[in-house]
Structure formats: structure tokens, C-alpha cells
């Protein structure tokens, strides 16, 4: 087992338990791997590498909203790789890249390289994406995930129950992830 696998898996398990600091480190490290992975694959497919940061963010959102589908008894790298590859193939299909054949690759490919460009930015506009969400989801995400209010405070401010806040945050991020995936982003 590689050290990347051991480290990333430990961070993921802590994140699944609700450890936000470990989770932030995980996403930060994954974003570097994803950036190198997508940039490499896109340039091989003859696509502009400018799309790669959009893909990085799309994959991070997908990893986050589907983190409960990771089975802790299984290795972590293949799970991340499966999501990254799925999003890459989907992106190439959406952008109608003709004649691209992605070679079969080992799941280690996802952690093979690092690209730690600081402050990388995508063409996605978070505010526009949020504006398209139903009101309750948008307010819940703004309070809890952007302003950092606790769930209890957010519940009071939005006039929802605590569990409604949690559900709306989860559904909202999922809807956001889907709306990027279906290419409705201007």
C-alpha cells in the first residue's frame, strides 16, 4: 500500500466522522492530485487545460456529496479514481470531443502527480449557481457552509428545524453538483 493511500484514507475516515480540519486537508490534497490528473488527461485528449479547474471543482463536489458511498473496509484511492474518471468521461462526452479513447489505467494514476497551483480558479460562478437553487436550500447553504453559522443558529435565523437545515444543505449541494454535471452552467 502506498503512503498516499494510507494518509488519504486516514483523513477520509476522520472526515466521515465529522472532523472538519482533517477533511479540509483531504480535499486540499485531493485537489492537487485531481488538478494534475485532469490537466494531463485533457491535454492528451486535445482539450484546453482551462477546463481542468472546472473539473477539479466538479469532482470535489461529487466526492463531498457522495462521501457516504465510500466503504471504509475498501481502499480509498480506487474510489476517488472512479469518481474522477467518471467525471472526466462525462465532461468529454458533454463537450463532444470526437474520437477520444481513454486508456485503461491503474487507479494509482489519480495520486501519481501533484499540481499545487495556489489560488486556482474555475469559470464556475458560485453565486449564480446558488441563485438557481430553491430558496430554502440556498439559505441553508449560505448560513451553514458560507457564513459558518452552527446548525442551531441557522435553524433560528431561517425559521427551519435543525434537521431541515441539514437536509437542505445536503440536498442543495447535491443539486448544485448535478446542475454543474448536466452542463446548465452558462
Amino acid at each position: 500500500m502506498t503512503t498516499a493511500e494510507t494518509d488519504l484514507k486516514a483523513l477520509m475516515l476522520a472526515g466521515l466522522g465529522g472532523d472538519g480540519a482533517a477533511y479540509r486537508t483531504l480535499l486540499d490534497r485531493l485537489s492537487r492530485h485531481l488538478r494534475a490528473y485532469f490537466a494531463g488527461r485533457l491535454s492528451r485528449a486535445g482539450r484546453p487545460a482551462t477546463d481542468s479547474e472546472d473539473l477539479v471543482q466538479e469532482a470535489l463536489l461529487a466526492i463531498h456529496t457522495n462521501r457516504h458511498t465510500y466503504e471504509p473496509s475498501e481502499p480509498f484511492t480506487p474510489w476517488v479514481h472512479a469518481i474522477a474518471r467518471y467525471k472526466l468521461i462525462d465532461h468529454l462526452r458533454r463537450s463532444r470531443t470526437p474520437g477520444v479513447h481513454l486508456s485503461i489505467e491503474d487507479s494509482e494514476a489519480i495520486v501519481a502527480e501533484n499540481d499545487d497551483r495556489a489560488g486556482a480558479e474555475s469559470a464556475l460562478d458560485l453565486n449564480k449557481l446558488l441563485d438557481r437553487l430553491p430558496d430554502k436550500m440556498r439559505r441553508a447553504i449560505r448560513c451553514v457552509k458560507i457564513e459558518g453559522l452552527s446548525v442551531a443558529e441557522a435553524a433560528r435565523r431561517c425559521g427551519m428545524t435543525e434537521s431541515a437545515v441539514k437536509v437542505n444543505v445536503h440536498r442543495g449541494l447535491k443539486t448544485l453538483s448535478r446542475s454543474i454535471a448536466s452542463g446548465r452552467q452558462p
Binding site: A21, Y23, R24, Q57, E71, I83, I146, L149, A181
Partner: protein
């Protein structure tokens, strides 16, 4: 949007999650799908009235065993393929075993019977009803399981995930139809039960990429 900002957002107020959620939701969906399919079948077609005699009971048992084994294998496989990367861990050979077994059994029965009986053994009285009922009733379990997979899971091979949704839905429907069906020859079960479940699986392969996309 800066990637750092997205990471900040996602890790702020992080909620713990339970990895057993997708499997539990799937089992719940299958339980509801089985009861719904049985209820629909009983309302639309009614139960066969001869379940007290032994040959009828044996044949009913064979049909339930056939559909039940397929359902069990389909659910176990489905709980794997609905997770990212899970498609590599399911055995397609294992899934085909019940179909191979019943085909061999049917061929043996045909070989032991005079060829003048083959037509009746294969077509029974109600082959058309069987051909239509199983795929039609399967629509309800198919929709239910698809909905739960969309809500809770993230398959990365959509055709394969769709195939297992179709396989589960077809076998649930066949379980229900067995309560009504009085065509008891093994070749009939192999051809029309096996065939309609295969049709449902194929429909799943075709619909998966559209319905399960995320």
C-alpha cells in the same frame, strides 16, 4: 470560483455520515417493491386456487426459488455497483448461474419427453399473459429502486448499474407472477420467466445511462 473557497465551504460545519446508508436504503426499497408488486399482481390477476395440491406447490416452489435466487444475487451485486468503482467487484458468471441451471433442467425435461409434448411444455396456456405481465409489473419496482439509487448512491458504470436494477425489478415481478401462474412445466419457467427477467435486465442496460446519471 476559487478552489480554495470551495474547499472551505465544503469542510465548514462538516456533518458525519453513515456509509451503511446506501445499502440500507436499497434493502428498504426492495422490501417495498416486493410488497407493491405482490399487491398489484393480486389485484390485477388474483392468486391461483390449486396451491393445496402437491404438484402445483412444487412448481410454485421452483418459480419462487428461481426468482428469489436471482433477486438475492441482484441485490448483493447492486449494493456494490452503486458505489464508485464498485462495478469491478461483481461477478457476472455468478449472476448467470440460475439461468444456466434452469435452462439445463428444462432441456433435460424436454429430452425425457416425446417431442409431441414439447409445444405444450414450452408454451403452456398463458405464455402471452406471462410475457406481458412480468415486464409490466416490473415497471413499479424498477422506478422505486432507480429513485433510491439516484437519491443515495453514485454508480460509475451506469449501464451495469441499470442492468442490476432491471434484474432485481424483473425477479421481483416474477416472484409476484408466480402466485398467479398455473403453467407449471420447467421449460415454460425457463423460457418465459427467464426470458422476461432478461428483457427487464436489457431495459435496465439501455435506461441506466439516462436515469442514473449524476
Amino acid at each position: 470560483m476559487k478552489t480554495d473557497k470551495l474547499i472551505d465551504m465544503l469542510s465548514t460545519n462538516l456533518e458525519p455520515v453513515d456509509h451503511r446508508h446506501p445499502s440500507r436504503a436499497l434493502i428498504g426499497a426492495v422490501a417495498i417493491a416486493v410488497s407493491t408488486a405482490l399487491a398489484l399482481m393480486l389485484m390485477a390477476l388474483g392468486i391461483r386456487h390449486d396451491l393445496t395440491n402437491v404438484p402445483a406447490l412444487l412448481s410454485f416452489g421452483l418459480k419462487v426459488l428461481f426468482a428469489g435466487v436471482i433477486l438475492g444475487l441482484a441485490v448483493v451485486s447492486l449494493s456494490k455497483v452503486i458505489r464508485p468503482g464498485g462495478e469491478g467487484t461483481v461477478s457476472l458468471t455468478l449472476i448467470s448461474l440460475p439461468f444456466i441451471a434452469i435452462t439445463l433442467l428444462a432441456l433435460a425435461m424436454l429430452a425425457m419427453s416425446p417431442s409431441s409434448h414439447w409445444r405444450t411444455m414450452l408454451l403452456g396456456n398463458q405464455w402471452l399473459e406471462c410475457l406481458l405481465s412480468i415486464p409490466l409489473i416490473a415497471i413499479v419496482p424498477f422506478a422505486l429502486i432507480t429513485w433510491v439509487v439516484r437519491q443515495t448512491a453514485a454508480p460509475t458504470n451506469l449501464s451495469r448499474a441499470g442492468a442490476f436494477v432491471g434484474l432485481a425489478a424483473g425477479s421481483i415481478s416474477a416472484l409476484g407472477y408466480a402466485l398467479h401462474c398455473t403453467d407449471d412445466s420447467v421449460p415454460f419457467v425457463a423460457l418465459w420467466y427467464g426470458g422476461t427477467i432478461a428483457v427487464c435486465t436489457l431495459a435496465g442496460v439501455k435506461l441506466g445511462p439516462r436515469l442514473l446519471h449524476w
